[in-house]
């Protein structure tokens, strides 16, 4: 829209993580861990006892927090909440699906690649040719 003012901004923001213990521990070693005064962290460690609801709540929380720019999520965890991840379409925070020890990265399941692969699909080509 012509009337909207677009202001270039530079801000600092956190990296959030939803992953297994080793992955989260590793990234915390790299200094990305943040705990605020209310003991809220920017990470969720997923293990066998973590419920799907807890993962969904963490994903919703991290994607609505203004101080988070990137959310790293193990792809096998993202598969548990695939509908939620695929329906997310904001530019920030960016959702990056990462491999885990037991589950290698599969581009076929990546939400951002699923979104853009429509351009390569037969439907897209056929509709372009009509």
């Amino acid at each position: 829209m012509a009337g909207r003012a677009q202001i270039a901004t530079k801000s600092s923001a956190l990296i959030a993580m939803i992953a297994d213990e080793d992955t989260v521990t590793g990234f915390l070693l790299a200094g990305v861990g943040n705990v605020d005064l209310r003991r809220k962290t920017n990470y969720l460690i997923v293990d066998s006892k973590t419920t799907v609801k807890a993962i969904e709540d963490a994903f919703k929380e991290f994607t609505t927090r203004e101080d988070i720019a990137v959310v790293l999520i193990s792809q096998y965890v993202a598969n548990m909440i695939r509908f939620l991840v695929d329906s997310y379409n904001k530019p920030v925070p960016a959702i990056l699906e990462i491999p885990s020890k037991d589950h290698p990265y599969d581009p076929a399941h990546d939400s951002v690649l699923s979104r853009v692969k429509y351009l390569f699909s037969a439907e897209s080509v056929a509709s372009g040719r009509r």
Partner: protein
């Protein structure tokens, strides 16, 4: 002839957008593929550290739950409109920012020449500039070492060298992930341009409804 030239120019422009999109998809896939061996090395080093230090020392139980700020964070440049980001945000990694001094100790996008002159003011002598530059580099290095040690100290005073190498592996993984985030951003931007172009083309072909 003019219409043909205009059509050719339009096709050239649209081809360029499609090529940009395809290039960004390729870059994204390549970057994500390069992440796996780095993470694998990090997990391996972490497992080695756990083996030498003990399972309970290198676990989530040791994590610091007292309030503290992240030493490594992102600088995000984007365009805001009505409290939401539009267009193509870009991210740069700011590693090991000191808690006392919030400026980055090690920022990916700052060129070396700027880092060297950080400690200097208005000196004209090259030798003094170089020595001050060296001093500021040493200060930056010292701060980075201090922040790294502070993070490692969560796991105890004496830590395995494998834990230090795991730390470096995950730092490298973070750099790759920030690059992936930027490529993702440009991919989505290129995708929306191509999609819009396709819709405009379809509307042009269908024409106005009588």
């Amino acid at each position: 002839m003019a219409e043909g030239a205009g059509g050719a120019a339009a096709n050239g422009g649209s081809d360029e957008k499609v090529l940009d999109f395809l290039d960004s998809v390729d870059s994204y896939l390549t970057t994500m593929e390069s992440l796996a061996p780095i993470l694998r090395q990090g997990w391996f080093d972490l497992a080695s550290a756990r083996h030498s230090m003990g399972v309970f020392r290198v676990s989530s139980a040791s994590l610091d739950l007292k309030d503290h700020s992240a030493s490594t964070y992102l600088q995000m440049v984007g365009h805001e409109s009505d409290d939401s980001f539009v267009g193509q945000p870009s991210f740069s990694l700011c590693k090991w920012a000191s808690a006392d001094n919030k400026s980055c100790c090690s920022e990916e996008e700052i060129p070396d020449s700027q880092l060297r002159h950080r400690g200097t003011s208005r000196l004209s002598e090259n030798q003094e500039q170089n020595s001050n530059g060296d001093d500021s580099l040493k200060t930056v290095d010292d701060l980075v070492k201090k922040e790294r040690s502070k993070t490692l100290s969560v796991f105890g005073t004496l830590v395995s060298p494998k834990l230090r190498t795991a730390q470096l592996s995950f730092e490298t993984a973070l750099e790759v992930l920030v690059e992936a985030a930027n490529i993702r951003s440009s991919m989505l931007s290129a995708y929306s341009q191509v999609q819009k172009q396709m819709e405009d083309t379809r509307e042009g072909e269908i024409g106005p409804i009588p």
